[in-house]
Amino acid sequence: MKDKRLVIYAVISVVLLLSPLFLNAYWVDVLNNVGLYTILALSLNIILGHAGLFHMGHAAFYALGAYTTAIINTTYHIPILWLLPVSGLVAGLAALVVARPIIHLRGDYLLIVTIGFVEIVRIALVNNVFGITGGSNGIFGINRPILFGWKINKPWEFFYLIWGFAAVTIFLFNRLENSRFGRALNFSREDDVAAEGSGINTAHYKLIAFVIGAFWAGMVGNIFAAKMTIIAPESFNFWESVVLFMIVLLGGRGSIRGVILGAFLVLGLPEIFRQFATARMLIFGAFMVAMMIFRTEGILPPLPRKYPIAKMLRREGSA
């Protein structure tokens, strides 16, 4: 059973890895967008999926990361990839400041506040705060990233940068969710009072979840800015947050494989059915409704964590 699953994952990875060889630039670019949204949705998954916090303002952290990179790169010409951690830090710091006073809010209340936050960020960008965001025109002339002397320019080059980053993210987040930290988030999501009563500082863990999620979204913003070379506030509107929220809910809250599938469906399906342009959103919407009725936990809900219980008991028995 487990081996079969590993084979499936391996086949999908290899096909994805080779796909730029047989896809044209347009479709590679679609996959690039899927990749960016995969990483964004995985970072939202920590907050929404694992900690269970209804956060619909993730695009704000994405925007902060992108603008940080754009502003510093166009003003001081610091190479893009050096700004990757800087973008993450700025977004993470913003999350720390913003989430701290609202972390105790529950469900729909938190939802409203985070929607407000993403709108505030967008409007601030449009209004050219401090004269550095370029208003509604945005910022252009952002450099391309250079990785080990290789200038990343074409869609297929970005493909490997983005999906490489996605692979690292999946690897690290998988470890994160199978740890004391990941469990603490789940306990807090399942029952806040019981988690506190078991000795878990739930507010602290929720805050850290926000910071890690925002840090990653900020880093994706960096890559997005480099990929587009021009960014504007409209790329980070409320709808982007909704799409990310949708990916996590549709794929499966707290499930990495579910979120990846969700990103492919939410971004890929509308592209595939482009010729039915007028009807595709209708069908897509109907599909979403059906999902929410028949598979409330998402298409691929998380698998239970595995612990080497049997192994430990055997060792105890023989000792």
Partner: protein, 255 residues
């Protein structure tokens, strides 16, 4: 004997209702103490005041010579006070072993970065925690159901799982809120033994229970409260013959 926990004039009001009214009593280290009283007397409120779920309006809670009334719940747990809940509050969608690992949490250190880089210390700690969790499951007799979802356990076993989770915090003091609720006679008899075993590990026990046979058999000292106020305190024999207690439970003859 030293006093481990001491409540001093503890008072809690909800609007006009005085739920807990100047309650004062001490719990000696190593004792099994029962807190009893009619429904709505304020027993669970006392528990919630000790564990920091509620803040007292007056009075103080002293644990191990330290006032804990302003500390957050998770701090109180790490000081060594663990609890179970009257209405079972397990993490229903998670496995029994994970529920117990929740209790291990406060005795662990590694954070998110250690988890991402899977440091040797983090792996060692995870292994230790898993071992502790399995031991606690074994202690309450649930080892064979370690990987079952908590919601699939029987009612009595869910109560035991809550006790295992509380014990995994390595407490010095454990508060059990109606541990026998929903248990049959056989399970209750086993529970009495478990409570004694807990005490034999050096953990002081304070419990609320309506099952009088359990209270009389397991507890060495009883505190009775009615309408939020303490009306009697003493060993089970003395309490059983206390006229005030009989009045509280059976009502007065008004003729």
């Amino acid at each position: 004997m030293t006093t481990l926990l001491s409540l001093k004039n503890l008072t809690k009001r909800f609007g006009g209702l005085v739920a807990v009214d100047h309650v004062t009593f001490d719990v000696e280290a190593g004792a099994i103490v029962g807190l009893i009283g009619p429904n709505g007397a304020g027993k669970t409120t006392v528990f919630n005041l000790i564990t920091g779920n509620y803040r007292p309006d007056e009075g103080d809670v002293i644990f191990d010579n330290q006032s804990i009334k302003t500390l957050p719940t998770h701090k109180i747990v790490s000081l060594g006070i663990a609890r179970t809940f009257q209405t079972i509050r397990l993490f229903h969608k998670l496995a029994a072993i994970e529920n117990v690992l929740a209790g291990c949490h406060c005795r662990m250190q590694s954070g998110s970065l250690a988890a991402m880089f899977r440091t040797p210390a983090q792996r060692h700690e995870e292994h230790q925690a898993l071992q502790t969790a399995l031991q606690e499951l074994e202690f309450v007799g649930l080892q064979s159901q370690a990987d079952q979802l908590a919601e699939n356990l029987s009612y009595g076993n869910q109560r035991l799982l809550e006790i295992a989770r509380a014990l995994a915090t390595q407490p010095r003091f454990i508060i059990l809120d109606e541990p026998a609720g929903g248990m049959n006679n056989q399970e209750t008899a086993a529970l009495i033994q478990t409570i004694r075993n807990i005490r034999d590990r050096g953990i002081t026990v304070l419990l609320i229970e309506h099952d009088m046979s359990l209270v009389m058999e397991a507890c060495e000292q009883l505190v009775v409260i009615e309408n939020g106020a303490k009306i009697a305190e003493g060993d089970p024999q003395a309490i059983q013959s206390d006229p005030k207690v009989i009045e509280a439970y059976l009502g007065t003859d008004e003729e």
